[in-house]
């Protein structure tokens, strides 16, 4: 009987093309697209000094400030790759700076320097070069040339292998696993809409029979998504899941169970289909954003408000743990992630149980009232 019902549920679930898209297309699209699109960004290769140019204008042909400028030009070119160009029309040069043709214009005077930057659109590279120039220009040539501080190499740092491919394999997968729950939520709402849910409520198996079936279907879809993503990331993107793969799968499955139970709650409580769907989407998108599945989490952690907000997303904990496990580190993050997913799943379970108990009480009271009314009618 169970397997017959299961077969039927699976058939219904996979007869919907949108569900197929969620299981197959969305994870591969997200993992592939995000990995490729943010490759340079994750590596912090912003092209800060790309095509960088600085103008300089000499009001005096020689003197200590001209000599100092020459040394600075050498140092800045060497350390940033920015090229310096001498200009002979200062007003035109300023206009060109405003048109982003150069970061700024340095004018060498007999008593020092003037630096002109654009009042509207100074780039990050321009800001850096300006401040580096100001810092260096205040020093004597000997200081600029002689490097008074020795740069030693006695601190060892562990090297992380997390590039955009690895990062988005895990974070986008956790995100799309959560997205899968939309199908479960809609499927439960359909049962409510067609009133079949009432039959389940009064049947021997109770509502958990039906919910269990839908949850198993969700888990099967999740497992399929996991398998596909694993194959795609391993064979196409070249991501090595490493020795802690068992822990990773465990965390992802726990996360999947929580997401499915959340979808069940929203499917049972949503006032209409669109609201149920929107709520699952909204929660998923918000969790994904705060969890670092869309924007790299370190960027979020660098924003003061977001630094605290990210912690309310269950995806944040899952993603953090997955990245640590990928780096072959089994630490508290794994424990936190497992506890949070399990805890949230339990909360959802309690919400469903309490809600269904209330509904049963209401149904029994209604049934008794109906019987009473009928008796009264017969008596009348």
């Amino acid at each position: 009987m169970f397997f017959e019902l299961m077969k039927k549920e699976l058939k219904v679930y996979f007869s919907n093309k949108v569900n197929w898209a969620f299981v197959v297309v969305i994870p591969l699209l997200f993992i592939g697209l995000f990995s490729v699109a943010l490759k340079d960004y994750i590596g912090a290769d912003y092209g800060t000094f790309d095509d960088g140019k600085e103008f300089y204008y000499l009001n005096v042909e020689d003197g200590k400030y001209v000599d100092r400028l020459n040394v600075i030009i050498e140092r800045l070119t060497e350390s940033t790759g920015v090229c310096f160009e001498r200009v002979y029309d200062i007003e035109q040069a300023k206009k060109d700076v405003e048109k982003s043709k150069a970061y700024g214009v340095i004018t060498v005077n007999a008593d020092g320097y003037d630096y002109y930057r654009s009042p509207y659109n100074e780039t990050e590279g321009g800001k850096l070069i300006r401040t580096m120039f100001v810092e260096m220009a205040q020093n004597e040539i000997e200081n600029i040339k002689n490097y008074p501080i020795v740069v030693s190499n006695n601190i060892e740092v562990k090297v992380s292998d997390v590039d955009s491919y690895a990062y988005y394999t895990f974070t986008a997968l956790a995100f799309t696993l959560m997205m899968l729950s939309v199908g479960v939520s809609l499927s439960i709402y359909d049962e409510r809409e067609h009133q079949t849910i009432i039959r389940y409520r009064i049947s021997k198996g109770g509502i958990w029979g039906m919910l269990g079936l839908k949850m198993v279907v969700g888990m099967i879809a999740g497992a399929m998504q996991l398998l596909l993503s694993f194959a795609f990331s391993t064979f196409v993107l070249g991501v090595k899941w490493g020795g802690k793969i068992g822990w990773m799968l465990l965390l992802l499955m726990l996360h999947n169970i929580f997401a499915i139970l959340m979808a069940v709650v929203l499917g049972l409580k949503g006032k209409n289909k669109a609201i149920s769907q929107d709520m699952v989407f909204l929660i998923t998108m918000l969790s994904a954003y705060l969890g670092g599945s869309v924007t790299p989490v370190y960027l979020l952690e660098n924003v003061p408000v977001l630094k605290l907000l990210v912690k309310i997303s269950p995806l944040y904990w899952t993603n953090q743990a997955l990245i640590s496990l990928y780096n072959d580190i089994l630490d508290k993050k794994t424990l936190y992630s497992a506890l949070i997913s399990t805890g949230l799943a339990l909360i959802m379970f309690i919400i469903i149980t309490v809600g269904e108990k209330k509904k049963r009480v209401v149904m029994i009271v209604k049934e008794t009232d109906d019987k009473k009314d009928k008796k009264e009618e017969v008596a009348a």
Partner: protein
């Protein structure tokens, strides 16, 4: 047309959700996203000063004086984690060097960083004697700016395009409930009907856009351009495009549900490739080429050009492209509506 406009305004008045969704919700979201969207090109440096020499503070001062980078103090025990998780890109650890009786610094990165050598140059160029020629460099003063609008631009364009989907919904609803047929029976032409509703939607969207623009000015947002009105013009064009897309979509699909699918499978990918979730400039060339085909990108490109060149004229080709697309979409919507009505 005026009658249709009045009627649409009446619909807005009776259903406050419309005004909320079209005008105020986008403005609130824009303002919220201006604060919350963290994409930035600012590099981050962690400084760990373990030196007992007073002069080590000069190195910290030099780094703090850098504009265009975020400098934070980091404890040595957190250094590894911060570098591994990319919270900082470059770490500068300052220690004692008893041999020279002066501080030494180590510049650390976990991979390659484009500012590593620049940071090294700053550290090495620090004058530990602090005998320097102060005030010999005069930098022109620039008005201090607040939040940069560039980081939220793609989101704003996306939200503008989706906000107008309500117009499509309303048109389909009126068509389904035969309200539209009654309007046509009263002698109002199809073109006037569409133009009237579009005008009200455009005015509502443009009001929201202008409101954000004014608030942006009040809060000193950084528009990154000489003539900020250029930003407003481009965003008004975005409003117009939003109305045109919505109108066209409502003429092409039959139900409100299909409109939702249209939004998800056409507007969303358009936004994705135009930099909604990740900055356009960091995308690989192939993705950029796809993005460049979408009007979202034309709007953003127009604004970027104005930011870069400081003039409005340079963005005119993009404005014309948008206008042309709007005309085409309006034409499709009108023709399709006429055909459907005739059949």
């Amino acid at each position: 047309m005026l009658a249709v406009m009045k009627n649409t305004f009446a619909v807005f008045k009776t259903n406050k959700e419309f005004i909320m969704t079209i005008v105020f919700q986008p403005v609130l979201l824009f303002l919220l996203m201006s604060v919350l969207l963290p994409y930035t090109k600012e590099h981050s440096i962690g400084v760990c000063n373990e030196s007992s020499y007073e002069s080590s503070e000069y190195i910290v001062d030099s780094l703090n004086g850098l504009d265009g980078v975020r400098v934070e103090e980091v404890k040595k025990k957190d250094l590894n984690d911060k570098l591994m998780n990319s919270n900082i890109e470059v770490a500068v650890v300052i220690m004692d060097n008893p041999e020279t009786n002066s501080p030494v610094a180590q510049v650390i990165t976990v991979g390659s960083s484009e500012i590593e050598t620049a940071v090294e140059a700053v550290v090495m160029g620090t004058n530990l004697d602090k005998v320097s020629d102060n005030d010999i460099v005069h930098v022109n003063k620039v008005k201090k700016k607040g939040i940069n609008i560039s980081t939220t631009l793609a989101f704003m364009i996306f939200k503008t395009l989706t906000s107008a989907m309500l117009l499509g919904n309303l048109i389909i609803e009126e068509r389904r409930n035969k309200i539209r047929d009654r309007i046509f029976l009263s002698g109002i032409s199809k073109g006037a009907y569409l133009a009237g509703m579009s005008a009200v939607y455009f005015l509502s969207l443009a009001f929201g856009t202008t409101l954000f623009f004014v608030i942006g000015h009040l809060f000193n947002f950084d528009f990154g351009m000489k003539y900020t009105v250029g930003y407003l013009i481009m965003m008004w064009l975005a409003d117009l495009l939003a109305v045109a897309i919505s109108l066209c979509a409502s003429a092409l699909v039959k139900t409100e549900d299909s409109l939702w699918v249209f939004g998800s499978f056409i507007i969303m990918p358009m936004a994705l490739f135009s930099g909604l979730l990740f900055p356009y400039e960091f995308m690989p060339k192939s993705l950029k080429m796809i993005g460049a085909c979408f009007p979202n990108r034309w709007i953003a490109k127009g604004i970027e050009i104005m930011q870069r060149t400081g003039g409005l004229v340079e963005a005119v080709p993009y404005m014309l492209m948008l206008l042309a697309l709007c005309i085409v979409l309006f034409a499709i919507a009108t023709v399709k509506t006429k055909r459907v009505s005739q059949s």
